[in-house]
């Protein structure tokens, strides 16, 4: 053997053909030589030269064959094509959100759908993700809240004792159905709002993406169980009012992520947690109580994300506080001409909490609903104060919240 020849890196592909993955053996071996250097390829197979030459051609490597030693050897010179592909590729942060420069202030359109931290080829297509700034969407607690949400998912078939026997007076059953009808309508808003943002959110913020996705799944499950409660005794859904839907439409139409989080999560779903706790305590049947207890747990997480996101945003940009206050005022004025919570829902809540139609029942139910309204207002005021609204402002904004609750 000529001197020096044995120094060439060599790969023996044995009898593995190019119809059986031989290209990968060559590719891995080429990865260990520098661009411009030669890899010697040997094979015990037959007719491997053509497919090897074709593969090298397609990959931009030069190849020639040498039959000197009584058997054929290929000499593959590694080309620069693969290296060229990754020139000017984008660095896209890193996987662990707690690390420095992992979640970057601005996610670029051309990072597209790549995993955060992936190396993205220059020339990748630009995706129009409107929510691409960290300060618009981020909360440090998103990953933790998502993990909690994933662990707390429940199966509507097994978590609720649908077969528990009970019978309510017709008027009370009708009241439960009306409240559930109203809940479905509100949860549709709570599903659609994060779902719309989800489609506009840059996947770079994957923890927020995951959290919004599981919120959407939560709401779908709530809509399912509320609907099943409506149908449990053979009823159809009750009434839906123009005023109620007008109030919800202002949420669906809100384009700003932070303002929407504020109106929906902090004020709306926060208020809903009070309502669900009320139902858990006062609903006249065990199925409704179970449903309310499970849904309240989920909604409390949604409120927690809204509070965390806004807490961080306000700390960075104190002026956001007045923008949020203005949003409440604007919504109040927009809804001033509507009737607020519809009479059927209000009366249904009284009947539901009464559990019967005797004068004493109704009076007790009425008292409980009054207590609910006070509890809702206190909760709103406390959350507003926590975000930094001073005493009087928190009190006033809490009172301006839509009479439709959500």
């Amino acid at each position: 053997m000529p001197k020096g020849r044995s120094l060439l890196p060599t790969i023996d592909i044995e009898s593995v053909g190019f119809d059986a993955g031989a290209h990968l053996l060559v590719k891995l071996a080429l990865g260990r030589v520098a661009v411009g250097e030669v890899l010697r390829v040997r094979s015990q197979g037959e007719g491997w030269e053509g497919p090897l030459a074709a593969w090298c051609r397609s990959q931009g490597h030069a190849v020639d064959f040498d039959a000197a030693a009584g058997h054929i050897e290929a000499r593959v010179t590694r080309g620069a094509v693969q290296a060229g592909r990754w020139r000017a590729a984008a660095v896209t942060g890193a996987i662990d959100p707690r690390a420095d420069n992992a979640v970057l202030p601005q996610a670029e359109a051309r990072w597209g759908l790549a995993a955060r931290g992936a190396t993205v080829e220059a020339g990748s297509p630009a995706f129009a993700f409107r929510l691409s700034r960290k300060d618009e969407v981020w909360a440090d607690s998103a990953a933790t809240l998502y993990a909690e949400a994933a662990a707390a998912q429940w199966n509507a078939d097994t978590a609720i004792d649908w077969n528990t026997a009970f019978a309510l007076p017709d008027e009370v059953e009708d009241a439960v159905v009306q409240v559930m009808t109203y809940m479905v309508e509100n949860e549709n808003a709570a599903l659609v709002v994060p779902a719309r943002f989800l489609g506009q959110l840059h996947p770079h913020f994957r923890e927020v993406q995951a959290l919004l996705a599981i919120q959407v799944a939560d709401e779908a499950r709530h809509i399912d169980v509320f609907t099943r409660r409506i149908a449990l005794k053979g009823r159809q859904p009750g009434l839906s009012t123009a005023g109620g839907q007008t109030s919800l439409k202002t949420l669906v139409d809100e384009p700003d992520f932070s303002v929407a989080q504020f109106l929906l999560a902090v004020l709306g779903e926060g208020t809903f947690v009070s309502l669900l706790n009320f139902l858990n305590q006062h609903a006249p049947d065990p199925v409704t109580r179970q449903i309310a207890r499970l849904a309240a747990r989920d909604e409390a997480r949604h409120v927690a994300f809204g509070m965390a996101h806004l807490g961080q945003s306000i700390a960075r940009e104190p002026a956001l506080l007045s923008r949020l206050g203005n949003a409440v005022e604007a919504r109040y004025e927009h809804l001033a001409g509507t009737s607020g919570l519809n009479e059927e829902v209000f009366d249904a809540l009284i009947l539901l909490a009464a559990g019967g139609t005797r004068p004493a029942d109704i009076a007790a139910g009425y008292g409980r609903v009054q207590g609910l309204l006070q509890d809702m207002a206190r909760g709103r005021e406390a959350r507003l104060a926590k975000l930094g609204f001073k005493g009087e402002a928190a009190h006033r904004l809490a009172s301006l919240h839509t009479r439709n609750f959500m």
């Binding site: 119809d19 931009g60 060229g84």
Partner: protein, 284 residues
């Protein structure tokens, strides 16, 4: 004189529109007015190189052979200005089942699968290869053609795939394909891993080139060639175009890789010396 360079290309697949629209936009960005005309077959495209329609054409190797013959017969000249790196030094392989013929001579009396009648890589050059080895189709073995889209000169690989399928079904004893398709058909599962082997391989040949028509504006052709050869794989703006067209770099054209094809064209009586079509059952 027109200031727009007009190129012909054959629409063998829908992606051809994407490719040349991309090149057109890129050439215009570089200041070269460029347009293209699509043909359904190479025969009509080559003829348009002699009636003033086209300044140049993206030609198959067989189209080059014909253009070169027509030009010579008329005392004119065509030239090949550029080709892909992946157009140089190709080969075709003859695939048999693992238990099939052990040597080329054993194909005597057997059925051998070819591609389209006008495919340089899967029919004409392979016919020549076997003829040089002493085997003539119809006399020594049965040639079974898998004809897909006549006039596309084998650019559509469907014929080669059909032959590979027929080989695995036991309908033929051997199948020709371009070297790269052996791995491609294995990846598709058409050729099960380890079920076949390569019996023989043709000599190296070249594939497509940009053929300049007689009398084309030299300055525009020069600018076109200069821009092409300057396209860099490292530039993300052009890499997608190069990937679509299946190359890493453009190379200066050469005509040294068409000898086996030209011999096959004569031996199989496909065109005459003046580029007239002789093959009787050729439809395009």
């Amino acid at each position: 004189m027109s200031t727009t360079l007009v190129m012909g290309a054959v629409a063998y697949a829908p992606k051809v529109v994407t490719i040349w629209e991309g090149f057109k936009a890129w050439f215009r960005e570089q200041g070269l007015e460029f347009d293209f005309v699509l043909y359904s077959n190479y025969e009509r495209q080559v003829e348009a190189q002699f009636d003033g329609t086209l300044d140049l054409a993206w030609n198959s190797p067989l189209a080059w052979v014909r253009a070169e013959r027509i030009a010579r017969a008329r005392g004119l000249q065509v030239s090949a200005v550029a080709m892909r790196d992946t157009d140089q030094d190709l080969s075709s392989v003859l695939v048999v089942r693992q238990d099939g013929a052990a040597e080329v001579a054993a194909l005597k009396g057997r059925r051998v699968g070819f591609g389209a009648i006008d495919s340089p890589q899967a029919t004409l050059i392979p016919l020549d290869h076997l003829r040089q080895a002493g085997l003539v189709a119809g006399r020594d073995y049965t040639a079974q053609r898998f004809d897909v889209l006549g006039g596309k000169h084998g650019d559509h690989i469907g014929g080669e795939r059909d032959a590979a399928v027929a080989l695995m079904a036991g309908e033929i004893d051997a199948a020709w394909m371009i070297d790269g398709n052996y791995m491609a058909f294995a990846n598709e599962g058409v050729l099960p891993s380890g079920a076949t082997r390569i019996l023989t391989r043709t000599g190296l040949y070249d594939h497509c080139n940009f053929t300049v028509s007689p009398g084309a504006p030299a300055e525009l052709i020069g600018r076109f060639t200069e821009l092409l050869l300057g396209m860099s794989w490292d530039d993300p703006a052009v890499r997608s175009l190069l990937e679509l067209e299946g190359l890493r770099a453009w190379r200066p054209g050469r005509t040294s890789g068409y000898a086996a094809l030209a011999r096959a064209v004569d031996d199989e009586a496909f065109y005459d010396a003046e580029g007239k079509i002789l093959a009787a059952d050729y439809r395009y």
